[in-house]
């Protein structure tokens, strides 16, 4: 654990307690049907729990005080996210309070911040990032077209997956205002209310029982003052937002991996076979010892990255990719081993191991996969 101040310790304790009481893994289970798919008609989150989270001020942790937030830093927000990750709590906290809030903080005009941030901070409004369009994260391949019309813009194209896309009120949409897919130049971000005419949303029934969405834009009109940042020059801004998103995701993954490891370790200490507790078998002891080592690396990479955002560290891009890639690799291994070390029971939908495994793979792909971030780190470091 990072060295925390008194307020941060209180926040962490409170989050830990609340998550266990209010959104234990059984809460996520409630979003699944008996066959192991997402419950039909589900929004992929618990709206009442979300309201409680907002009440506790969690949605405004990184929002400036002037806009109703606490301006308490990313490391603090990370404390909450890690706890949510422990129980696989489904909520739009990362999408809205971290990603959308970061985008507005980084590039929003005074007016844009005043319009959107207070709602994000008090939880009455959910924001999200609509960036990816294909099977893999690749911002420069953005094809969704924005054409000038009158004194505004018209958007046409598709986005998927949009995290928490069915419950979001505000989507920050990456579009191409010039150039061709593959160019870093010509990208622009737009602030798009999700009830805009011409925007159709379709829920995606995903293995983790969340409800991301497929967005279809058919000539959606955008006012000129809903451009976020500079026209045609959003590539760096997109990187900066995605880096914060990736660090948020890595933080959730740290929580999930830690909990998955703890649950597995408990099982190793109780399950008996061949007249012995299976945790006394050396092969399993060594696997546990190695996974414990990986968890150490992951915690360090994640906490370093969170602190780097707060410190405005120029090394942030590399640290973000380091955190996401290391967390991705660790959670992948631990979630697979969670199933393996539980044996047959680990294969059942009734057991939690499958829930950790499914969320792990979703989280790995979210905001840049493990492979994507490794490649990026490699380039940033001259390989």
């Amino acid at each position: 654990m990072a060295v925390l101040n008194e307020e941060q310790t209180m926040l962490k304790d409170m989050a830990s307690q609340w998550v266990r009481d209010r959104l234990p893994v059984t809460a996520l289970r409630g979003l699944y049907d008996h066959g192991g798919g997402g419950l039909s008609g589900s929004d992929g989150y618990d709206a009442e729990a979300w309201a409680e989270m907002a009440q506790m001020g969690w949605c405004g942790i990184i929002v400036p005080e002037a806009h109703g937030g606490a301006d308490f830093g990313y490391l603090s927000l990370g404390l909450v996210i890690e706890e949510l990750g422990r129980t696989l709590a489904a909520s739009p906290l990362i999408s809205s309070a971290l990603v959308a809030a970061s985008a507005l903080r980084l590039a929003g005009t005074q007016d844009q911040q005043a319009r959107w941030l207070p709602g994000i901070a008090d939880g009455s409004l959910i924001g999200t990032l609509a960036l990816d369009e294909g099977p893999h994260h690749a911002p420069e391949r953005t094809a969704l077209a924005a054409t000038a019309s009158g004194d505004g813009w018209t958007l046409s194209g598709t986005k998927r997956p949009v995290q928490d896309g069915m419950i979001a009120n505000l989507a920050i949409v990456a579009a191409r205002t010039s150039g061709a897919p593959g160019d870093r130049d010509g990208l622009t971000l737009f602030l798009v209310p999700t009830d805009s005419a011409g925007l159709e949303r379709q829920p995606l029934d995903q293995i983790d029982a969340r409800r991301p969405a497929l967005y279809r834009f058919e000539s959606v009109n955008i006012a000129v003052n809903d451009v976020l940042g500079e026209i045609g020059k959003a590539a760096d801004l997109i990187d900066a937002i995605r880096d914060r998103a990736a660090i948020g995701m890595a933080t959730e993954m740290l929580g999930s991996a830690t909990q998955a490891f703890d649950i597995t370790l408990d099982y190793l200490k109780t399950r008996v076979q061949f007249g012995a507790i299976i945790g006394s078998f050396q092969a399993l002891q060594h696997r546990a010892a190695e996974l414990f080592g990986e968890l150490q690396l992951t915690r360090s990479a994640v906490e370093t990255a969170l602190a780097a955002i707060d410190a405005d560290d120029p090394a942030l891009p590399a640290l973000a990719s380091l955190a996401k890639a290391i967390a991705g690799e660790t959670l992948h291994r631990i979630s697979s081993q969670m199933v393996q070390l539980h044996g047959g029971i680990g294969m059942t939908h009734e057991h939690d191991a499958g829930l950790y495994l499914k969320r792990a793979r979703v989280a790995e792909q979210c905001h840049g996969s493990t492979a994507w971030h490794r490649e990026r780190w490699a380039r940033l470091n001259g390989y």
């Binding site: 060295v3 006394s280 150490q296």
Partner: protein
């Protein structure tokens, strides 16, 4: 000791920086300190090194936290850390660092009597006495407590006979700290910790050639060696407790930050070439290099995190897990380096191979030892499983 105030910290940093700048011989900049630590002849032959060693001895900064009467400077851990950082910043090294400062010294400070401390610590603090570690035996490696070197109480002295093996630097050492058996009835409870002068009659150290060509490791034979009564540390049969403490100091020093690892990327560009995008022209090797480099960075962040949390002690803080991460990452890097060099990384001697290539080859061979000494990889995993994770058995 009281924590330092930030203001004192900054003041001391300035002071340390100025003193080091004035006293560290520029000719030694970026020279690996290990060169002298491992080789008494190289150390004796190098005037710059001798000057540097003398200055640090006089200042007491080789062991800054030890009391002045033991040759230290009586400073806090925080001061010591600052000295280390400032030294690293100018490409310097601690000329006093040795088995004595890393292992025996801290152990004597806890378990030695005053006479033993006064007799040995000042010579460790000046690096005038080289020490070696006589623990392992042919039949006692991982199961160290199976050791059999006999030690009999002869009234006015101890009589030691037996064989040690893998004793690093025994051929150059002045003294040896030895684990001996003083009771054959009890395994762990029958071991004592003895300080032996390597000049004593009846001691013979025979170098062993390792796969890396190094001959710093010896078999050491004790044939009825007489050792003074006052050389036994702690109580008779308390040796196992003392040895375990010493091994903790050893593990801690092994998993210290190795910040001086040069990035592989530029070397890989040279040896493998680049593709049209300027990337290392071997996707598979590049991917493995990158993964290793990322793990190395996360490992360094872990060392910093544990230090910030004030955790650098025992198994509850995962020292064994850390040692395995360290040895694994460094060994993999050494493998990658020779693989990058290809056929040029496979030379043993001769002009066609550059000095850096030959060094990489030897370092790769030597790196295989990292997961064997100081507790093997498997033994560390046993410790993590049982002591850190609480698994049974």
């Amino acid at each position: 000791m009281a924590e330092m105030e930030p203001i004192d910290r900054e003041e001391f940093r300035q002071e340390a920086r100025a003193w080091l700048k004035a006293n560290f011989p520029p000719a030694l900049t970026n020279v690996p300190g290990l060169l002298f630590q491992g080789d008494a002849h190289a150390a004796a032959a190098n005037d710059d090194y001798q000057l540097w060693r003398q200055r640090m001895t006089d200042k007491g900064w080789g062991v800054p936290t030890w009391a002045p009467r033991y040759g230290g400077a009586g400073l806090t851990e925080a001061h010591g850390k600052i000295i280390g950082e400032e030294l690293a910043a100018i490409g310097g090294f601690n000329p006093i660092r040795s088995y004595g400062t890393m292992m025996l010294g801290p152990t004597l400070l806890e378990y030695g009597d005053e006479a033993q401390k006064l007799e040995h610590l000042p010579f460790i603090a000046s690096h005038e006495r080289r020490w070696c570690q006589g623990f392992s035996e042919p039949g006692a490696g991982s199961d160290l407590a199976a050791l059999q070197t006999k030690c009999i109480d002869m009234g006015d002295h101890w009589l030691v006979s037996g064989q040690k093996i893998w004793t690093s630097g025994a051929d150059q050492a002045d003294w040896c700290f030895v684990l001996v058996r003083t009771d054959t009835e009890r395994k762990q409870g029958g071991i004592s910790f003895l300080l032996v002068d390597m000049q004593s009659e009846g001691i013979e150290a025979r170098p062993i050639v390792l796969i890396s060509g190094s001959t710093h490791f010896c078999e050491v034979f004790f044939n009825d060696v007489k050792v003074p009564k006052g050389n036994l540390v702690g109580e008779v049969n308390q040796g196992w407790t003392i040895a375990k403490r010493l091994l903790q100091f050893e593990r801690n020093s092994l998993s210290e930050v190795k910040a001086d690892i040069t990035p592989l990327a530029p070397l890989a560009h040279d040896y493998l070439g680049t593709d049209a995008l300027g990337r290392v022209d071997s996707p598979d090797l590049r991917a493995r290099m990158v993964r290793n480099a990322m793990r190395h960075e996360a490992y360094m962040a872990t060392v910093r995190r544990l230090a910030a949390e004030g955790k650098n002690g025992g198994p509850s803080h995962g020292v064994s897990a850390l040692k395995n991460l360290w040895s694994g990452i460094i060994q993999e890097r050494a493998e990658l380096l020779v693989e990058i060099m290809g056929a040029y990384g496979l030379g043993w001697a001769g002009d066609p191979y550059s000095a850096a290539e030959k060094e990489a080859t030897r370092a790769w061979l030597h790196s295989k030892a990292f997961s064997i000494y100081g507790g093997s990889y498997e033994v560390q995993n046993n410790i993590t499983a049982k002591r850190t994770l609480g698994l049974p058995g």
